[in-house]
């Protein structure tokens, strides 16, 4: 039994438990419509899910019950006690079958005709013994039916089955999660106090361990709640395949963005909506292959499902290339059903008419098929999404297809955030919006005001600039305009604007927590988060702020038109990044080449005869521009240059600023590394020749191959050797059985191992405790960092060559 089936069983059982109360209430008062709705949804979902698996009996039963209930809902039939009993008997049967499915038993060829027949109007009431409504009381109704073959299942199904996973209440997870967050805060506090108390080797060691453990636990707990949307997508191709097969259509699925992470609860929340929409798309949207060919389309329909995280929402777009929605038909139907009146219809745009499909009780399907079109679904889909603060929209082009866009909020999820400061208060911005951070002093920004709107020039375009202090009505900052920092934000609509803040604080992962409604109403915040020091900060709702300032497309279009002429006038000048290299010379490099500025610890730099290399984010890059001799500083600023194929890092002493190339470039034939000299602000600056640089040093980055090193046991190795190697880009292994690229051992251990005639599957680097080497020993003093790295590097080089 696969996971999908386990999910199906668990879901059905949960729904069964939830609808038990409704069943009992309905039995007491068959005329009450409100109970019918929830029971109807239950059988509808069961029916939908069985279509997905292969349970024809289950499907037949639930379909029959659904038909009968649907008649009651539409008012064609008055529910009576006979119907109630019949539906209850069917639900009991469903519950038995689910037990059988879970136990992995065959459902057999049992005869459900009697049960189904009892649903017919005027059928003799089933004689139900005992308390019939409890869905858990297996087997009682069927006792009235002789000849039932699977009576035995009820007994068998009660036997305990092996649980392979457990379902936990989300509050419990929340509690554990906030407990861990509290622990992290307590740790930070303790760390602070320890620093004040000075070095205490006996405490620092265990404390470091605590920190590592806590980081691990925190990571695990966080992941407990997060799930890649892949887990949801995994089930879709099968669903599509089965549905399209059943309906005689050919459909291809295109899934995108499976790596988007969503809160587990949210995934559960969107599972049903997505299934419903896909079912509708295949049933109503995509045409039969013959019709498609007749309309000049490909025979195979395309269903695309894409998940994307943008700022503080996750959007899931489900699109098909089918016949599209017919707004006239929808409006007529809505009129006929009394959902809208004539006057309303006349005022409605096509867009507005399309959204009617989310109203309760709406269905356009002329015939009720096995798959969809019963009017349950889209209204429920919308309700479910709105309950968690999401939304759903539909857009459609007749003849071309339909797109459903689901927006799901990001609350309780973890996003990368940038912390900025304005007026002595800090705020967080979702990193995904941030295009670039520019210091306002840069001359090229050309800060101007057109009317009340401030504009800056960014990459040759005028971009509106908004002061965060104005947005939040904070007292004006003490900084002058040129001292501010501009955060350029790219909205999902593609619009760009600059947000002026006093300074940038930090960036890192933040856990977004919901805010109280009173604060949410202001519309400027999307949530809150706690900084490392335990201070809460507000997460800005970039989209809403942009909307408030009419920076989002529609509103901006008019403004752009008037700006268009100006934009034309600004020729895009060549821009340069000016820096001082390690020999104190001012140099420049074309800005397009610079991907970003990195800071790397000196320990991440490796030098050997072949040249220097540096490890940045687990990838090894060639490094140029280093001074001869040792580095004076612990950290090195690096320009990451990118020629779109390879990356190269250029070590610099200081990054100055970006500037425009104003005058001509005078070639310097004597130095191949220099493209030429140019005048910037009256000073001569040599422009680095990008072509020559990449030709000489450029090499595709060596990704992923972090060499694994097995280190000895003990505190010294764990606290001194391990971190040193890790910071130099090696992966530390502690499990002696793991495959590693190199082994580091103490001489004594190595001798002992040799005495035992042990074999090593990786080269061994032997360490000794004394600074001076005994003659003839191939050992390295344990504090000889360079020696150690040289040995490791040569081992790794040999390995690479061998590979």
């Amino acid at each position: 039994m696969d996971d999908l089936l386990a999910d199906f069983v668990a879901e059905t059982r949960e729904m069964l438990e939830a609808s038990e109360g409704e069943l009992i209430a309905w039995e007491a008062d068959p005329g009450d419509r409100s109970h019918i709705d929830s029971i109807f949804r239950f059988v509808h979902t069961v029916k939908g899910n069985c279509g997905f698996f292969d349970f024809p009996r289950l499907e037949k039963l639930s379909h029959a019950a659904e038909d009968a209930l649907s008649d009651c809902r539409s008012g064609h039939r008055e529910p009576d006690s006979a119907l109630v009993s019949a539906v209850l008997a069917i639900i009991d049967r469903i519950s038995e079958m689910v037990n059988a499915i879970e136990a992995g038993e065959d459902l057999g060829e049992g005869d459900d005709a009697a049960l189904i027949a009892s649903l017919e109007v005027g059928a003799a009431a089933l004689v139900v013994e005992g308390p019939p409504a409890g869905a858990g009381t297996n087997g009682e109704p069927e006792a009235t039916e002789p000849g039932d073959e699977d009576q035995g299942h009820a007994g068998k199904a009660d036997a305990p089955t092996i649980l392979r996973s457990i379902r936990l209440p989300v509050d419990l997870l929340d509690r554990v999660m906030s407990g861990v967050s509290d622990m992290v805060l307590a740790r930070n506090d303790l760390a602070h106090r320890l620093r004040q108390a000075g070095n205490q080797p006996t405490i620092d060691g265990p404390f470091e361990r605590l920190t590592t453990i806590l980081a691990d636990v925190r990571d695990a707990i966080t992941r407990m709640r997060m799930q890649r949307i892949e887990t949801l997508f995994g089930a879709l191709p099968r669903l599509v395949r089965d549905l399209s097969g059943e309906l005689g259509k050919q459909v291809m699925v295109d899934l995108e963005g499976g790596d988007v992470e969503l809160d587990r609860e949210m995934i559960e929340m969107v599972r049903d909506p997505i299934t419903h929409i896909i079912r509708n798309a295949i049933d109503h949207g995509i045409e039969l292959p013959s019709d498609r060919l007749a309309n000049g389309k490909r025979e195979i329909g395309l269903l695309s499902i894409a998940a994307r995280q943008s700022g503080n929402t996750i959007s899931i777009v489900i699109g098909d290339d089918g016949r599209g929605l017919d707004d006239a038909k929808i409006a007529d139907k809505a009129l006929a059903m009394g959902l809208i009146d004539k006057a309303e219809r006349a005022d409605m745009t096509r867009e507005a008419i399309l959204q009617i499909i989310f109203r309760p009780g709406f269905s356009t399907a002329d015939t009720v098929s096995n798959v969809s079109g019963r009017g349950v679904g889209l209204d429920v889909v919308r309700d479910n999404l709105e309950r968690v603060g999401g939304s759903i929209k539909v857009s459609s082009t007749p003849g071309c297809g339909t797109f459903f866009t689901l927006q799901i909020p990001l609350t309780l999820t973890i996003i990368a955030g940038l912390t900025v400061e304005v007026g002595n208060q800090r705020f967080a911005i979702p990193q995904s919006y941030v295009e670039e951070i520019v210091h306002a002093s840069a001359r090229a920004l050309d800060f101007t005001c057109v009317g009340e709107t401030a504009l800056v020039t960014f990459r040759g375009a005028r971009v509106p600039c908004v002061m965060l202090s104005d947005v939040l009505e904070l007292p004006g900052s003490e900084l002058s305009e040129s001292e501010r920092t501009l955060v350029l934000l790219r909205l999902t609509s593609g619009d760009l604007f600059a947000l002026a803040v006093d300074r940038i604080h930090s960036h890192g992962d933040i856990v977004v927590k919901p805010l109280a409604p009173a604060v949410m109403k202001s519309g400027f915040y999307a949530g809150s988060t706690l900084l490392d020091d335990g201070q809460p900060v507000l997460l800005l709702d970039v989209m809403n702020i942009a909307e408030a300032y009419e920076l989002v497309s529609d509103a901006r279009l008019r403004m752009q038109l008037s700006l268009h002429d100006q934009e034309e006038a600004i020729a895009s000048p060549t821009r340069l990044m000016i820096f001082t290299d390690f020999e104190g010379r001012r140099r420049a490099v074309r800005l397009e080449l610079v991907e970003r500025i990195e800071t790397a610890p000196a320990s991440a730099i490796e030098r050997n005869a072949a040249g220097a290399r540096v490890v940045v984010d687990g990838t090894i890059y060639p490094l140029v521009g280093l001074p001869d001799g040792t580095l004076a500083s612990e950290k090195v600023r690096l320009l990451r240059l990118d020629d779109k194929a390879t990356n190269l890092l250029y070590a610099v002493r200081e990054v100055e600023d970006a500037a425009e190339l104003a005058g001509a470039i005078t070639p310097v034939p004597e130095d191949p590394m220099i493209e030429g000299l140019t005048l910037i602000d009256g000073a001569t600056i040599a422009l680095v020749d990008g072509h020559e640089l990449f030709a000489r040093y450029g090499r595709p980055a060596e990704t992923g191959v972090k060499p694994g090193v097995l280190i000895p046991e003990g505190e010294w190795a764990a606290t001194i050797l391990g971190p040193l190697l890790e910071s130099a880009g090696y992966v530390i292994m502690r499990d002696a059985g793991a495959a590693s690229d190199a082994l580091i051992m103490f001489e004594e251990d190595f001798e002992a191992a040799q005495a035992l005639d042990m074999r090593f599957d990786a080269p061994v680097i032997r360490l000794r405790e004394q600074p001076t080497a005994p003659p003839g020993a191939e050992t390295i003093y344990r504090y000889d960092r360079n020696g150690l790295f040289a040995a490791l590097e040569s081992v790794c080089v040999r390995k690479r060559q061998a590979a």
Partner: protein, 146 residues
């Protein structure tokens, strides 16, 4: 009727909160202000890893908070899954009710009527019983209107 009550001074008046509604009483640490939120939202503060919305009850009731000294303690009440910290003048006591809930002829005054459930006799004297939901809920309407 012997319910536990948390007795607090709000704008110089003795008020009672049903202890069942109260999660804890905390020393308010640093409050991060929330710019452009309604005035009664004093800001947000962290209680361990939880974020509390700090409401100044005096402002919420239309009084000037500076008139009443505050002992920097707040009552934490969870309302509709959101924890709020209510700033009051000071906490007086935790006590039990000794009488039934009653009304006073003439009411409690416009500021108070909105949030008062009625007058309750306690062991330390009469107090105004406050409905915490009313304290937050109508505020939101006021807030959006503002």
């Amino acid at each position: 009727m012997n319910d536990l009550l948390v007795i607090a001074q709000i704008a110089g008046r003795r008020c009672a909160l049903p202890a069942l509604n109260v999660q804890s009483v905390i020393e308010v640490g640093t409050i991060t202000p929330v710019p452009r939120s309604p005035a009664y939202v004093a800001g947000i503060t962290a209680l361990r890893s939880q974020t509390l919305t700090v409401i100044d009850c005096r402002t919420a009731l239309g009084f000037d908070p500076d008139q009443w000294p505050c002992d920097h303690r707040a009552v934490v009440v969870p309302i509709e899954a959101h924890p709020y910290a209510l700033i009051i003048d000071r906490i007086e006591d935790v006590t039990t009710t000794v009488g039934e809930l009653g009304q006073v002829p003439g009411g409690f005054g416009t500021n108070w009527a909105r949030i008062a459930t009625g007058m309750i006799e306690t062991r330390i004297g009469p107090a105004l019983l406050i409905d915490v939901h009313a304290l937050i809920a109508p505020l939101e309407e006021l807030g959006s209107a503002a």
